[in-house]
Point group: C2
Chain length 152, copies 2
């Protein structure tokens, strides 16, 4: 769908950007996740983007398994529903939102994420699976994993 312009990059972040890094992609997923948008006309109205771009993005999402097409019984409208793969983008959207809240929202966050269970504020944390510490970015390292070419 996007062409593989990050093809030299063996990296899951690059792979993700191949699938959802095009302009509008993550905002379409955001509206599906948090505003319950499902129809072409809803995305169009909410986002105000060009029809051909919206159409290309939704097609791409269906091709790559991020959304699936559905028709609700008794309705004439085709709908686009996020799959598990699509819904699993929630942490990416929350991470972008938190960064924007901190660095690009001088009047405060326009939108707050809430835990539906108790209405508490949602925090994003990097946590160590071994020692359970909350990890700041200066405690974050990388190493080669099994998916790196040449690694057994």
């Amino acid at each position: 769908m996007l062409g593989s312009r990050y093809e030299g990059q063996v990296c899951s972040a690059a792979r993700s950007l191949e699938l959802v890094g095009e302009r509008w992609s993550l905002l379409i997923v955001r509206d599906a996740l948090f505003a319950g948008a499902t129809r072409f006309s809803e995305f169009l109205r909410r986002l105000g983007l060009a029809r051909n771009i919206l159409s290309a993005r939704l097609e791409g999402f269906v091709e790559t398994g991020i959304m699936e097409r559905a028709v609700r019984e008794g309705s004439a409208y085709e709908e686009y529903h996020l799959t598990e793969k699509g819904r699993d983008l929630a942490p990416v959207i929350v991470a972008l939102t938190k960064w924007g809240d901190r660095w690009a929202a001088p009047k405060g966050p326009p939108i707050l994420y809430r835990h539906l269970g108790c209405r508490g504020e949602v925090l994003q944390r990097l946590v160590c699976a071994q020692c359970s510490a909350v990890i700041d970015h200066d405690e974050l390292g990388v190493e080669i994993g099994p998916g790196m070419p040449g690694v057994a």
Copy 2:
């Protein structure tokens, strides 16, 4: 820098994508954060992108305070260093990586994030500030925050 093509969007995720949503932006930040890249030639070699695009991205990062220029004493080379604002993008890159590991890495993760303290695996979690629950995406809601126009 990018033009404000998401200008109708009052949303911190959209604001973030204005600043780091262009092609290559997050991969440049990734290499600065996790590979310690600082020089134009390093980014160029590691990423294999066009010089003019790299140049535009680094300029943009300096303009928007994501990077700053520095010259190391005794060196002729100009360097680009992430600011706190830039380093704070780590959770966005980790979130993209985790999603890619799960959905686009059939051979397993090429890169693993480790806690430098104990070498434990790094997990990404959404946590409730009130009840401390780990929040799954189906327990995530949104509400209007103070930065929404028309909200006191």
